[in-house]
């Protein structure tokens, strides 16, 4: 990960396409020895809670039984502007905004030279061209393309037969990495990894299992974050993760390494196959955060020279299960 923009060369350093292999580039280890937050030490005090699965939300447990774990109705948007809790300055801004809305939108109509449009207009060009929506790859191709695309930009893909095997792989990887802190989402599948038993010397934090903790700081101090993907698109090499009470955004963002678990049956061909369901679910069923992740954090802002691991995780693994 020196100054090297050739994806294949990056790949060589990360070579891990075969099952179970892993490697940690030298500079990453260096980063990990650097305290990432001022609160780094705090999380150690919560070790006693690690085996205690404590789901906040029963609806999510049910939902999580299905491999296609898309957030449920409990994720519903705040019916907001619940005036009761609003401070007066905000209520004032809110009133001002509602007064302006009429004028602002009417001004647009008048510029467009017609009365205000209130009915949904005909949208004949909605979404991708027809030819695009009519093709897909078979499972083998989806796996191959996803792997190739994710790796091409510096991500890693490991195929495992089962959740059990995924657990084994993670254990081995964490040991190699000498990980001290792992944060994972609070989902039944991830509990089945039995990391707590298998990695007795590592502190495993379970997202949001205890409301008293500063979870953001915990995630920022973790070496590894483990999340479930709700879906993936092979064409762009993208995994989709969503937020909920038990699925923190920070888990896939703040740790040094991000491990994403993806069931093969949730791997689609096109990005549209992940996006169109958002329209179908509708506003009220959408999670607050939907994140499409296509590789490690990177920047090319210095001389367009590729650097991996700016802000987000510099190392990302997708464990393809099944």
């Amino acid at each position: 990960m020196s100054r090297n923009t050739n994806p294949s060369m990056n790949e060589a350093k990360f070579s891990d396409t075969e099952k179970g292999a892993s490697s940690v580039p030298a500079h990453v280890e260096h980063t990990m020895n650097t305290p990432l937050t001022r609160n780094n030490g705090n999380s150690a005090t919560h070790k006693n809670t690690i085996t205690n699965e404590n789901f906040i939300n029963p609806a999510n447990i049910e939902n999580a039984e299905h491999t296609n774990n898309i957030a449920s109705a409990t994720n519903t948007a705040n019916n907001a502007n619940d005036e009761q809790a609003q401070p007066s300055w905000l209520a004032e801004l809110e009133q001002q905004s509602r007064r302006q809305q009429q004028t602002f939108i009417d001004h647009i109509s008048s510029r467009l030279g017609r009365p205000r449009a209130t009915e949904p207009p005909q949208h004949p060009f909605r979404g991708a061209p027809t030819f695009w929506n009519e093709w897909s790859w078979n499972e083998q191709e989806r796996i191959e393309r996803f792997t190739a695309h994710f790796q091409e930009v510096g991500g890693h893909v490991v195929s495992v037969d089962s959740l059990e095997a995924a657990g084994e792989w993670i254990v081995q990887y964490a040991q190699e990495l000498k990980a001290r802190e792992i944060v994972r989402q609070q989902l039944p599948e991830l509990q089945q990894l039995r990391l707590e038993q298998r990695l007795p010397d590592v502190h495993i934090a379970v997202w949001n299992e205890n409301v008293q903790i500063d979870w953001r700081a915990t995630a920022a101090g973790a070496d590894i974050g483990i999340v479930m993907a709700d879906g993936a698109a092979a064409y762009t090499g993208t995994v989709m993760v969503t937020s909920s009470a038990v699925q923190g955004r920070s888990v896939s963002l703040l740790p040094t390494v991000c491990i994403v678990l993806l069931y093969k049956e949730n791997l689609h061909t096109r990005l549209g196959e992940l996006l169109i369901p958002m329209d179908q679910r509708g506003r009220e069923q959408l999670p607050a955060g939907v994140h499409f992740i296509s590789g490690p954090s990177r920047s090319s802002d210095i001389e367009n020279d590729l650097t991996i691991g700016v802000h987000g995780p510099g190392i990302i693994y997708t464990l393809l299960i099944g």
Binding site: A77, E94, P121, W215, S244, S250, E284, H291, T307
Partner: protein, 507 residues
Amino acid sequence: MSTSEQRSTTVKERADIALNNDFLRKAVRFTTERLRNGKQIASTEHGNWDEWRERGRQIRLHTIAHLDYYLNLFVDNARANGVHVHFAEDTAAATEIVMTIARHKQAQSVVKSKSMVSEELHINHALEEAGIEAVESDLGEYIIQLAGEGPSHIVIPAIHKNRYQIAELLSEDAGEQLPPDTTILAGYVRRKLREKFLDADIGMTGCNFAIAETGSMVLFENEGNARMVTTVPKTQITLMGMERIIPSWEDLEVMATLLPRSATGQRLTMYMSGITGPKRQQDGDGPEEMHIVIVDNGRSSQLGDPEFQELLNCIRCGACLNVCPVYRQIGGHSYGGTYSGPIGAVLTPALNRNVAEWDDIANASSLCGACYEACPVKIPLHDMLVYLRRRKVERGLGNRWESLGMKGFAVVMGNSKRLGAALKMGRLFQKPIVHNGTISLKVGPLKGWNTYRDMPSMADDPFRERWTKLEQELDQQSVTMDQTMQDRMEQLIQARQRRQRGDRNES
């Protein structure tokens, strides 16, 4: 939009500084070449690129043509999601809203992800005046913030700086000498900004797209800083140009196909995030309070203007900058505004409604059309530049000498006899200054030309004077046209006549 000190100079003066800065020109060439090659490869690999461009254009045309409906729908849905939506007609109104929120939040620090609207509004300046620290978290933005400059490229803000200059800036920031090694420099910024993220009271973002039907906002990025800004601080403020709307997530697939490929040649940026309202009550992270400020600032004046409405279709990919042969020579700061390159040359005067400014910026183009060819939503920027020039002339603000010259041009070119006479006169007058078939005198309009080139002299016998003899000569050796060729020509004429009849029947 542009700062006052920039307005006091002309594009020529600013360009001269850039043209004499080899450092800058090399840096700009190097990076734009990479970006345009990347785009070329990515769009070819994807295939059917022109169909996708047309699709993108249609979606944008449709949305803007019904912007009142879609924006209103977005506002209602965003509110239902728990977002506080605000409207700002101009910079002052937007600043006032942001400052009101910051004041009541008793904010000491605002951490920002990349937002061209925030650059346009100079929000950092306002925050700093109020004693609030504003931290740009995009690596490139952080660099130019340290340098006290504005972005010189829509996508790569520090494109004009090389690693040595950047190492110097970051070393000063760090208080220790950092080597000019990209990995080490980026590593420094990562560590430094981690603290800033966790400290910040407010996270501020821009908005790539806003989805009307669900009230969601979408951000494209590679570093993860926009995710940080929308995950860590308790309050999120999003600044959004009023035209950022698309109807649905389904439409987002088209934008997600066009934007990253056009901007950086990627299949998709490393992160694409859809944010639908503040964090849910039981979520462990995400902003507790979310504001979206919808900014007009000159945009609505493009609506209903047949020549400029399409300007609002722009998705801010920067592809037009990367192919522009003028941008390549002079970089972004020469344009004197927040937005540079071909899109900036049109957008800056259009948003400012500032006739005086139309002068030189619109002239800084050879009208080569590379911007149009690169644009993923097919905005005819090269035509718009001519419209700007024309509007200036129509308002009587044209250069006096040029106006006279163009009147003379029309007189000569309005009649072939006058043209013939002018050619004769020209030949007569050029005699004393022609040497060896060229004119290298450096006076008047010839000065600029002849600094870089030799001017050819006029021919002794212009074509119109050669014609009679040539025609006579060819008449004597006439060749008969091949029958198939003749048939082709007849068919073309007939097809043309059918089309013309069809047109007439329709109208």
